[in-house]
């Protein structure tokens, strides 16, 4: 990689990311003429125009006021960001930091970064300082997140020692061997085109660079010592800011005989209580709360109690409020649900082999165990499925993840001893685990919104971004610090990475494609395919340069099978009824060429693609999360740094262009909870485009996910949305997801049954008294939509 190329990358990325008329600090906050209630920043202590002379408290307040007025005009977000940027610059100046090299010197002196980084920066100070771009592309919420949580602070004064641009360049230098490399990655980050995941942003260049996002631990063996050893591993991994997925399927169920004491087991719940407390106690590096998800296979005899762990009713001693829960569901279960048959529950002590089998081998072993009379209990499969659906509706938890689809198509499972036992905290990672190997994944996401040019995607630039991203993700494997030997062993052998995307909804808005249009499906699938092609190509290049990953011989790729090959024409996952699974004829020559090249070079990474939720990095980039639709045109975001208002700036731009963005429309959108569907002034084309996740058919979300599945060799964090879930709707939806060949799903999002009265929207005039007799349907509808449905209130 040459210096010139790095600069070119910065240049093009810079131009494409769009409008950057950033108001300088001190500019008045934008308001529109009709804001009688004070659209411009007024009131409280902000009477004075914020400027260089104002004290820090006044300036902070001006920033908060501007941020609070984002709903009036989204440009206020840029204004607030500009003001905050100035404040940060002044704060770093208090410790004498102005340039990048000064910031690294200061953080090194404070003991926050590694010697290697300090030496690299000192040796190349002038060149690196020249890379720093002064202009900021941040929205307020993104910059505020960076300021609150990512910038390194002096251990005693707690003042920040680096500016946001220094932070990006520090992260880049932490992963680079040359200035050119650093420039290349920095160019992607500063244009918000690509961001590594939070652990890398937190720890790159640090003395103990734990760069991985997630860890997947196999179930502890069914022994006391093994269980306590797992708690310790979870605690060590959690301490360094990793999210935890852990299976619990091997641990015996309630009532099982304990030979050593001749007593009976209390099942898995008390163990999970201990895990719950342990996870809550270990604060991730003091930065965010620990988080874990427990996976249980559907045949485990404690599955019903497991599904109740998050309920807010019942005995608190049998509840785990901090753990997330996921079902690891075999196809055999779903088939029996469909056929309305019985399902057998087992004590793992009696069937220890089941969790290490999948597909036909599992089906046979499961039936054999039934015939041998080993079942603890039998229940109608639909009864258990119904309970799963209820847990999803009541808690959003109890994610449906599909064991057979996960294993059948994984590159890592070519040999029978390599089995995937669970997914991770966010259901996008699928990697094999065992007692000796804790799966690890390093993540990063491409911001699709920053790869638009004219009226389409700039494919060449997207490929370039992917190639750079894959190289740096591969680099993190070698540079990372691993909290446990099991994690290190697995990561060095398999070298998996998880490249994902964010801002898909931005792309659809910008190109005016409704989420459920055929054009959106085609574009989304092409994006996934292009990313996969570029990522695999880069991994093959890396294999040629640095060697294949040590376990390459155990992968399906070594046998000539790449992930898309599992999805034949018109079939998903070998089942009929799938969607979008057919591979594009357009790019089949590229796949053929790639297959030939890999046959020669092998691959550097056993897995390459995983679509993570991108909660925090999408905030930094100012785009919509991963592949998600918007949840509302106006919503607030709660984080550790307080709450922030977000407004759909594409909608605002469209309404402004048509002269429709005014106080009355704003109130109407707020009153309708961020929906534009029932506002008469809004034209039909905008109503279709600006539907929220609650208003889109969920079938469309599943179809989009299914269509990109061939190009996602791990999985996707796919949230599904249903305002008022019923068992009937949910059971139909998840059965469809399974049939479509999805490997995993994530949260079920639903809405509260009652809600807070709005304080800042003009009150609706005194509602008429309830009719003495009302149609029950109509009553239900008015309660769901108290502001919308005047007719029957």
């Amino acid at each position: 990689m040459t210096q010139t190329m790095a600069e070119a990358a910065i240049g093009t990325a810079g131009e494409a990311a769009g409008d950057a008329a950033i108001d300088a600090a001190g500019d008045a906050v934008t308001g529109t003429a009709d804001d009688a209630a004070g659209g411009a920043v007024t009131g409280t202590a902000a009477g004075a125009v914020p400027g260089a002379g104002a004290g820090p408290d006044t300036r902070r307040l001006a920033i908060e006021e501007a941020a609070a007025r984002v709903i009036t005009d989204p440009e206020n977000s840029r204004t607030a960001a500009g003001l905050l940027d100035g404040l940060i610059a002044d704060e770093t100046a208090e410790h004498g930091v102005r340039t990048f090299s000064e910031s690294v010197a200061a953080t090194h002196a404070a003991g926050l970064v590694a010697d290697r980084l300090a030496e690299f920066v000192a040796a190349n100070a002038a060149e690196l300082d020249a890379l720093v771009r002064e202009e900021t592309r941040f929205e307020y919420f993104g910059l505020r997140t960076v300021y609150d949580r990512y910038l390194l602070r002096h251990p005693e004064t707690r003042k920040v020692l680096e500016r946001p641009q220094h932070f990006f360049l520090r992260v880049a230098c932490g992963l680079s061997e040359t200035v050119a490399e650093a420039g290349e990655l920095y160019g992607l980050m500063t244009t918000l085109s690509y961001l590594p995941s939070s652990p890398t942003l937190f720890n790159s260049g640090a003395r103990r660079p734990q760069l991985s996002s997630c860890f997947l631990l196999d179930s502890p063996r069914d022994e006391l010592e093994a269980i306590y050893e797992r708690y310790a591993q979870v605690a060590r991994l959690s301490k360094y800011a990793g999210g935890i997925g852990i299976a619990w399927t091997r641990v015996r169920s309630r009532g099982s005989l304990i030979r050593g004491t001749n007593g009976h087991s209390n099942g898995i719940v008390p163990w999970l209580r201990t895990l719950d407390s342990s996870v809550a106690a270990v604060n991730q590096g003091g930065r965010r709360k620990g988080a874990a998800c427990v996976y249980l296979e559907t045949w485990h005899a404690d599955v019903e109690e497991f599904l109740e762990l998050r309920d807010n009713t019942g005995e608190d001693a049998r509840r785990t409020h901090n753990l997330n829960l996921a079902n690891w569901v075999p196809d055999e279960f779903m088939r029996r649900v469909e056929a309305d048959e019985e399902w057998s529950l087992f004590d793992p002590k009696d069937v220890p082999h089941l969790t290490d089998l999948y597909g036909a081998a599992f089906d046979a072993a499961y039936r054999a165990a039934e015939e041998a009379g080993l079942a603890v209990r039998r229940i109608p499969a639909r009864t258990l499925y119904g309970r799963m659906m209820r847990t999803l509706a009541q808690t959003g938890n109890g994610w449906m993840t599909f064991k057979d689809a996960a294993n059948r198509t994984s590159n890592q499972t070519a040999r029978p001893e390599n089995v995937i036992h669970l997914s991770n905290l966010c259901t996008e990672i699928l990697e094999v685990t065992s007692d000796a190997e804790t799966a690890v994944c390093n993540l990063g996401s491409v911001n699709l919104a920053a790869h638009l040019a004219g009226d389409g995607v700039d494919w060449e630039r997207l490929r370039r971004t992917v190639r750079t991203a894959v190289r740096f993700l591969d680099r993190t494997i070698d540079l990372g610090f691993y909290p446990t030997p099991e994690a290190e062993a697995a990561n060095r052998r398999w070298r998996p990475i998880g490249l994902g995307v964010m801002g898909l909804a931005d792309v659809f808005f910008a190109l005016r494609l409704p989420f459920d249009s055929p054009e959106a499906l085609e574009l989304s699938t092409r994006i996934a395919e292009e990313i996969a092609l570029a990522a695999y190509g880069t991994s093959a290049d890396l294999a040629a340069e640095r060697g294949r990953h040590p376990s390459y011989g155990e992968t399906r790729a070594a046998d000539g099978v790449l992930h898309p090959d599992h999805y034949g024409d018109g079939h998903s996952n070998g089942r009929s009824g799938g969607h979008g699974a057919s591979r594009s004829a357009a790019r089949s020559p590229e796949w053929a060429a790639l297959r030939e090249r890999i046959a020669e070079t092998g691959l550097r990474n056993s897995l390459l693609i995983a679509i993570a939720p991108t909660a925090t990095i999408a905030s930094i980039a100012g785009c919509y999360e991963c592949i998600e639709p918007q949840v509302s045109n106006v919503f607030k975001r709660e984080t550790l740094s307080g709450e922030f208002l977000q407004v759909n700036r594409y909608l605002v731009r469209d309404l402004q262009a048509r002269g429709l963005w005014n106080e009355r429309i704003r109130d109407a959108i707020k009153r309708a909870d961020g929906s534009v569907q029932d506002i008469p002034e809004i034209p039909a084309d905008l109503k279709v485009l600006y539907r929220t996740a609650w208003e889109l058919p969920q079938k469309a979300l599943i179809d989009l996910a299914a269509a990109r599945t061939p190009y996602v060799d791990q999985a996707q964090s796919l949230n599904l949305f249903m305002a008022t879930p019923t068992i009937g709707k949910l059971s139909s939806m998840y059965a469809y997801a399974w049939k479509s060949g999805l490997k995993t799903t994530y949260y079920l999002r639903s809405r509260p049954a009652t809600r807070i009265a709005q304080t800042t929207v003009a009150a609706a005039p005194g509602a008429p008294a309830p009719a003495a007799v009302a149609d029950p349907e109509a009553v239900a509808c008015s309660l769901e939509n108290p502001e919308v449905c005047d007719a029957c209130q």
Partner: protein, 331 residues
């Protein structure tokens, strides 16, 4: 009619299905105090200024007894006189919610004030701290305003009852509590006291429903007996609202002193007047103040939350779900 004396027990045919649906909706939103994590608040309290700590201690002292007062009025007046079994179902549920709020603020106080004597003092605030005592006395006066009336026979009885109902909805739940919530959200807008804010979100949601229920009782009575709503009643409501605003402002003066950045008596006055106008509007009355809301951070309260699950528990889930397993429904 709804205020006719008696103990109606008949749910079929249902006269007021709207009340029954409100009862069911409330059940779907059950939450428990154990779900609120107050841990991070302790770190925030430790780094607060004396002035901020004074504010928060006073606020907690108000919360300590506020919901108990509302529960008392519910038992002593509302349950007795709103004569419809479906309305009494809702009130029973409301009583449970008030109990949860009391428990939440008790837990909050135990967490925030580790010192035993401090806790005792906080509960005694209703007797010793003038700004809190005055608000409580305003409430007690209205609890007693029915003078132990057993049956609402005359129009005058019924007007007295309506005033009591409106007072608790518009002035106490709808103004005193709204004032208190504003302090909480002011802290939250600065990234502070996230645990308190989470619990407050849920309390706020409940209180909003209580208030809306009370207003729909008022609407119903108005439809059934329009003659009760005369100018004299309207004038009494305005006077009552003015008194409530004055009491809440005295509380604000006690809490804020000379003012904190972004929070002070004058701003609070604007906010309270704005809220008072909203309550009057809901009752179909003209605005008394015509003031604009000065608290931008309260805008946040009106829009959907999108919690990042790493950070907080999402409060948007429903409790009761219905239906059977099928495979052919639309989604």
């Amino acid at each position: 009619m709804l205020l006719d004396p008696g103990m109606d027990l008949t749910l079929r045919p249902m006269r007021y299905p709207d009340f029954y649906e409100r009862y069911r909706a409330a059940i779907r939103n059950t939450w428990t105090v154990e779900e609120v994590d107050l841990n991070s608040d302790l770190a925030d309290l430790a780094k607060m200024t004396d002035q901020e700590r004074h504010l928060i201690n006073r606020l907690v002292a108000f919360f300590a007894t506020g919901d108990s007062i509302v529960a008392n009025n519910l038992v002593l007046n509302l349950y007795q006189h709103v004569n419809a079994p479906e309305a009494r179902l809702y009130l029973s549920r409301q009583l449970f919610e008030e109990a949860v709020h009391v428990q939440f603020y008790l837990t909050l106080l135990d967490t925030y004030l580790p010192d035993h004597d401090e806790r005792v003092k906080a509960f005694a605030a209703v007797e010793h701290i003038p700004s809190i005592r005055d608000k409580a006395e305003f409430c007690f006066r209205w609890i007693d305003s029915l003078g132990g009336l057993d049956r609402l026979e005359t129009s005058q009885d019924r007007r007295a009852f309506l005033l009591n109902l409106i007072c608790f909805a518009a002035c106490i739940e709808g103004l005193f509590f709204y004032g208190a919530f504003a302090y909480v959200y002011w802290f939250r807008s600065r990234g502070l006291l996230g645990g308190l804010a989470t619990g407050t979100n849920w309390v706020f949601r409940d209180e909003s429903m209580h208030m809306e229920f009370a207003f729909s009782v008022v609407d119903t009575v108005r439809a059934e007996e329009p003659g009760l709503f005369d100018d004299e009643l309207a004038a009494q409501v305005v006077r009552m609202m003015e008194e409530a605003v004055a009491a809440e402002l005295a509380f604000a003066a006690d809490l804020c002193g000379d003012g904190l950045p972004g929070m002070g008596v004058e701003a609070m006055r604007g906010y309270l007047e704005y809220v008072a106008d909203q309550r009057l509007a809901r009752l179909g009355m003209p605005a008394r103040y015509g003031t604009a809301n000065p608290f931008a951070f309260m805008e946040l309260q009106d829009v959907q939350e999108l919690a990042n699950f790493f950070e907080r528990r999402v409060s948007a889930y429903q409790v009761a779900v219905e239906g059977n397993v099928t495979f052919d429904e639309d989604f």
